[in-house]
């Protein structure tokens, strides 16, 4: 990429010299930026955004880069904005079950901080706790707990966002219930930076369950597994995850290679004991499974080495979807309550389109979670959206396309 040396000098002038980083460390889809910065605070982020905007340069905000293959390849890439130095806990009041952190804090650090006070953020996004808070919000991915517990987007009480105008604006606050003004934070959640760079977020927390146990249930075939999973869901037990795994998915998760249902019981000791009892009597086969199994599934859901798709289908149809995907040679599993089906393997663009049509016909969707740049060029990774309004919002918040240009499609 050729970027005017004078423009880069202006950027260097605007930010402290210790924030500059070697651009080679920030390659995305084979492209290397002309310059890279790791600012120390939100004000410096805003300054960099503003300078980039003024100079007509394209900037990509980056955290742990676990979602770098989500969305379209960038149309332009001049500046890498490394947000990891924004790693401070701004305020934590355990008694309020509320925490405010900067965007570069990893989920692992956040959960460790909370665990000391018997609390946690009820999210388990792929590929694991190495995600940064900013990346987790911008990519809005959920895991096995979705549908049982609130997702990240529902736990945000407030947010600060740096805009290409150079301003840092906030919405919401740090109270658990608040309808003061528009919830701008919702617009930035899942937006992949389309309207600015998230620099800080305040979350509502939950007490850690006193007990958790993972149980592996088996049934005659994938159809019986689906029916069993729904019976578990309907029983009102103390569970926070119900997954239906195809044989290949079970194998990839280091379980016996047959279709199965994985259930996580969570709650008070007494409630978990009762739940385990009922689960054991409901299934033809039941045994303990390692909590690591969930971590493996999380990693497989966004890990490198294969194309990964996420389909949304009605919960009543997860097992038929998993079966169809596995018959097609993919590794597939579903998180029942969210109707979320993950498929992993080698898959060509026309097949992605066919699967998307199938999901959309059922009132669902397909998102390409991990794929080569070529596949993400050939297929729209997110699928249809209300583009006219999104473009109108883009014109208001980032009219020059400074942040992640093209990531959400041409012109966005």
């Amino acid at each position: 990429m050729t970027t005017a040396a004078s423009a880069l000098d202006r950027l260097r002038h605007a930010l402290p010299s210790d924030t500059e980083r070697p651009p080679a460390h920030y390659a995305l889809d084979g492209g290397t930026p002309a310059i890279a910065f790791a600012p120390n605070d939100p004000a410096e982020v805003a300054t960099l955004l503003h300078e980039a905007d003024e100079a007509g340069l394209a900037l990509a905000p980056l955290g742990a880069r676990t979602a770098a293959a989500l969305g379209r390849p960038l149309a332009r890439y001049d500046i890498a904005l490394d947000l990891r130095p924004l790693d401070r806990v701004i305020e934590y009041v355990p008694e309020d079950l509320v925490i405010t952190v900067q965007a570069g804090v990893t989920l692992a650090t956040l959960q460790a901080t909370l665990r000391e006070h018997g609390q946690y953020l009820t999210v388990d996004p792929p590929p694991g706790d190495e995600v940064t808070v900013g990346g987790m919000l911008a990519s809005a991915r959920s895991g096995a707990w979705r549908g049982h517990l609130p997702a990240a987007r529902d736990l945000i009480l407030g947010m600060r966002v740096a805009l290409p105008s150079g301003e840092v604006v906030h919405s919401g606050g740090r109270v658990v219930k608040n309808v003061t003004g528009y919830d701008l934070h919702r617009m930035h959640t899942g937006a992949l930076g389309a309207f600015g760079v998230i620099v800080e977020a305040t979350f509502k927390l939950a007490p850690l369950p006193a007990a958790t146990r993972t149980l592996l249930l088996t049934a005659a075939d994938i159809e019986a597994c689906g029916a069993l999973a729904r019976r578990v869901w309907d029983a009102g037990l103390a569970v926070r995850a119900i997954a239906v795994l195809g044989a290949r998915a079970a194998d990839a998760a280091m379980l016996a290679p047959v279709p199965c249902v994985l259930v996580e019981a969570a709650g008070s000791v007494a409630a978990v004991e009762r739940t385990l009892r009922e689960l054991r009597s409901a299934a033809t086969g039941a045994g303990d499974a390692s909590v690591e199994t969930w971590a493996r599934l999380r990693r497989l859901a966004a890990g490198p080495g294969a194309t990964v798709l996420r389909l949304g289908v009605p919960p009543a149809e997860v097992e038929t979807t998993v079966a169809a995907l596995e018959r097609a040679g993919l590794t597939a599993w579903a998180h029942l309550a969210a109707g979320s089906v993950i498929a992993r393997g080698e898959i060509a663009a026309p097949d992605v389109e066919a699967l998307r049509r199938m999901a959309v016909e059922r009132g669902g969707f397909l998102q390409v979670e991990v794929a080569s740049a070529a596949l993400r060029e050939a297929v729209d990774p997110t699928g249809a959206e209300e583009r006219t309004l999104v473009e109108a919002l883009k014109r208001q918040f980032d009219p020059r396309g400074t942040v992640n240009p093209g990531r959400r499609g041409p012109g966005l």
């Binding site: 008694e95 309020d96 509320v98 609390q119 809005a140 959920s142 979705r146 549908g147 997702a151 987007r153 529902d154 805009l163 604006v169 906030h170 919405s171 606050g173 109270v175 658990v176 219930k177 309808v179 003061t180 003004g181 528009y182 919830d183 701008l184 919702r186 617009m187 959640t189 899942g190 389309a194 007490p207 850690l208 309907d234 009102g236 709650g267 008070s268 007494a270 409630a271 739940t275 996420r310 949304g312 009605p314 919960p315 009543a316 969210a338 109707g339 979320s340 009132g363 669902g364 969707f365 997110t382 699928g383 959206e385 209300e386 309004l389 999104v390 109108a392 919002l393 208001q396 918040f397």
Partner: protein
């Protein structure tokens, strides 16, 4: 923000006078605004003669919501379909008239008051439950469906729509979406936005769009989440897809009795501190108990300083443990007694007291001002002391009935508007209490919305840049000037700025449901 209008809108805050507002709000009785006949004719053609009201005597019922601010719409229309809503919006815009959506009219921040006149789009005819999908836990409803109507339809399936505003007997689901409504069970289940999966919306300009879908985590920009709580300023919702939750297998309702609001507030903090989140944690103070107990006979002691109404739910085993922990926390905080509802009837009576509380205040006082503020839960004891001291200093009786577990206060200041100066003093008192909330790290509304009432308080919370960003959303949706004008954001053409005038909007007319 790059939009030129944003700065202008904020500057306008200073430039407007109340006089312009009231002139605009009440078309001269001698005649209708220019083009009135043509507007009515176009609306009648599109919606049918029976669905358009324009005679002043017919419109009086629609000049206010649950507040006392009044303004007559020029025309009220009653669409039966999405296409009719879109047609009404297009016609209003073609005639340069403001559009104001309205559901049941039970709003508490003046959000449905047509302050600049124009076309009021009343959605009560669109009251069909289109679908209940028990297996996938989804329901599709029209915006005029009343909250309780949906709950009743779901009960046989063992399912619940979690948001349960105390006004659920009258409030519409479209209104719940517009205001991101809460309710007692918000504590565990979250507000309306956490339970809306998809929306069909008529945008300013009349285009019909869909946001979200039937599943959580639809990919793409979350316009659904942005729209919920936008108070009718960026579109009119015409269909709602909601997420349902399974009714809990076991519920326990407890009443903890305290000698003072202070002790009850400490107990709330103590319960949350234990890492225990009940599904509901409500406070009723002495004033409320004395007003409702003689009517309901739920067993609230008349000499109590305050009671906490607490509900825990889940599996029987967990409920048992949680109830014991709540009881212990209340005891340590000085509860004189903790009672457990033994039967469903007993439980219903306890909740009945909560639900009729606001109405009881209306019956006991010529007027009252229902406040809605929110504070961090650990600050509840000191803020409640401030609420009691402030009301006493201004000489008002105050009745508190609120969502203590969320830190969501509802002090009700009782006063006589005929007493000279009382209205002004009640506004001052209310503003002082709102300041207490904000100074404690809270916000100016937890669930009732900004509407007309609290536009001027927005600047306490948000910077000019924050407000400009919100205005930019309004511009992007095309609703900047004519869509529910003078609501949520400060400023706006022809909108008043008088703090008093706007806050007055929410003084209650008297009794009914909240």
């Amino acid at each position: 923000m790059r939009d030129g209008d944003a700065g202008h809108a904020l500057d306008a805050t200073l430039a407007r006078t109340m006089a312009t507002s009231s002139a605009a709000a009440h078309p001269a009785s001698s005649g209708q605004p220019a083009g009135h006949e043509a507007l009515v004719r176009d609306l009648q053609q599109a919606l049918g003669v029976d669905s358009v009201l324009q005679a002043p005597e017919d419109l009086i019922a629609f000049e206010y919501d649950a507040t006392i601010e009044r303004a007559l719409p020029e025309v009220a229309v009653f669409p039966a379909t999405t296409d009719q809503v879109a047609a009404a919006v297009r016609i209003a815009e073609a005639h340069s008239r403001p559009v104001v959506p309205r559901g049941s009219g039970s709003g508490l921040s003046g959000g449905a008051v047509p302050v600049l006149g124009g076309v009021l789009v009343v959605l009560t005819k669109m009251n069909r439950i289109i679908e209940v999908d028990r297996v996938n836990r989804v329901a599709v409803v029209q915006p005029g469906v009343v909250n309780l109507q949906l709950q009743e339809a779901l009960a046989p399936h063992g399912l619940v729509f979690a948001p349960d505003p105390s006004s659920q007997r009258v409030c519409s689901l479209g209104g719940n979406v517009a205001n991101n409504s809460g309710g007692p069970h918000t504590l565990a289940h979250g507000s309306t936005v956490n339970h809306v999966l998809g929306l069909e919306v008529v945008l300013p300009g009349g285009r019909v769009v869909r946001f979200g879908g039937r599943l959580a985590d639809m990919p793409g920009i979350d316009l659904r989440g942005l729209f919920v709580g936008s108070e009718g300023t960026i579109g009119i919702v015409t269909e709602i897809t909601v997420r349902l939750v399974r009714a809990a297998p076991d519920v326990r309702t407890l009443v903890a009795i305290f000698d003072s609001v202070d002790a009850a507030s400490e107990a709330v903090s103590a319960i949350i501190r234990r890492g225990l989140i009940p599904v509901a944690l409500e406070m009723l103070d002495r004033e409320i108990i004395r007003l409702v107990e003689p009517r309901i006979h739920a067993g609230y002691p008349l000499d109590a300083g305050a009671v906490l109404l607490i509900e825990v739910e889940g599996l029987a085993e967990g409920v048992e443990a949680d109830a014991a922990s709540v009881e212990e926390a209340c005891g340590l905080a000085g509860a004189r007694e903790v009672r457990v509802a033994r039967t469903a009837a007993e439980r219903d009576r306890l909740w009945e007291a909560r639900k009729v509380g606001i109405g009881a205040i209306g019956a006991a006082s010529p007027a009252f001002y229902l406040l809605d503020g929110v504070v961090p839960r650990t600050r509840l004891p000191e803020v409640m002391r401030g609420v009691m001291e402030t009301s006493a200093r201004y000489g008002f009786r105050v009745a508190n009935i609120f969502h203590a577990g969320d830190g969501n206060l509802h002090p009700n200041l009782m006063f006589d508007p005929d007493e000279p100066g009382a209205t002004e003093r009640v506004l001052e008192c209310a503003e002082t209490i709102m300041r207490l909330c904000v100074d404690a790290g809270g916000a100016v509304t937890g669930e009732h919305g900004i509407g007309l009432e609290k536009r001027s308080y927005m600047e306490w919370i948000y910077s000019a840049a924050d407000l400009a960003a919100m205005h930019a959303v309004r511009v992007a949706f095309g609703g900047a000037d004519r869509f529910n004008p003078c609501k949520v954001l400060p400023g706006g053409h022809g909108c008043s700025v008088g703090h008093g005038a706007e806050a007055l909007a929410v003084m209650r007319r008297g009794a009914d449901s909240v």
